[in-house]
Symmetry: C2
């Protein structure tokens, strides 16, 4: 199983790290020993929303090479730039044929702008539901929303819940509760 | 107010990102407009526990230049290497005179190995309380433990709680609840 974590200039680090942590544990804890992942971007490295530089592991690789593509969010000023960036949207749209798409926070607006939420119910950060509405069939205020092959999550910290949801979805309940405990998230 | 986030090879990204997110919002949301931070390491860049490369913003800068020094954790195999790395511990110990020290997960074992937990009550990841015991006065199983000028947090996701604790401690309750809501952590 191959996962692509998409990153880009302006990305909110916690949106990414919150799902990257539990998902990578699926391999380390041997629930999915064959799991592989890449951190994919349009450039060799990106700067997060506070200018911290992170290196990508794959540059401009078409996303249809993956089984799962996960898109973190960013502050709306970065999203506003990306939804008019044709090169970025064209690249992101290479994910349209993958088995499972996921997003955290305003990442769903990117999925929507790339044309991948038509007919889907989706969610985003509570402050940006109106913007998301333009791109999908219906918005929801649930923390995790699965609609066909798209799983969208709410604001920033819901990245952890999406990651854990995927632990159960891709492996099983035992994996989820084991990883939740390792992450000390069972007694929040 | 100057904050140093310490990173190193093997660091658990979520331990760092979980506190970096709420703390950097203190500036962006204008609760502490003069807040500054660096991401400090012994090298130009480090690889996290899954080999993702992150650039530091300050290299080998003595940590006594900061008001607050925050240390994320890592898996125990990386910690075991660091607690016998004299160069790293000597550098980390330059934080011994700062006003406030903080750690997430096994980061407290690093603070302890650098001699900064003597007489303190501290916590760490639930699986590593025995190891921490060697370095501090008393261990606690609370999620956030403040003892003198040292605030230690539990496992991985407690990074978010430490960050929010610091939002209240450094600014006020309004800052904490505003940021908690922006992070969509108020309805977990």
């Amino acid at each position: 199983m191959n996962v692509a974590f998409v990153i880009y200039d302006g990305v909110t680090l916690l949106d990414f790290a919150g799902m990257y942590d539990p998902i990578t544990r699926l391999k380390r804890e041997k629930f999915l020993p064959d799991l592989q992942w890449d951190v994919c971007a349009m450039q060799d490295s990106i700067a997060d929303g506070e200018n911290l530089v992170i290196s990508s592991t794959q540059v401009k690789k078409p996303l249809n090479h993956y089984d799962i593509v996960l898109v973190p969010g960013a502050r709306i000023k970065f999203i506003d730039t990306l939804i008019v960036n044709k090169q970025f949207l064209t690249w992101l749209n290479t994910a349209s044929s993958v088995k499972l798409l996921g997003s955290v926070c305003t990442g769903s607006i990117l999925l929507g702008a790339a044309g991948m939420l038509t007919n889907a119910t989706a969610t985003t950060h509570p402050n940006h539901l109106q913007t998301l509405k333009k791109y999908c069939d219906k918005v929801s205020t649930k923390r995790i929303v699965k609609s066909n092959n798209v799983i969208t999550a709410g604001g920033v910290t819901s990245a952890i819940d999406l990651g854990l949801y995927l632990c159960e979805y891709l492996a099983n309940k035992t994996a989820r509760s084991h990883i939740e405990k390792l992450m000390d998230y069972n007694n929040v």
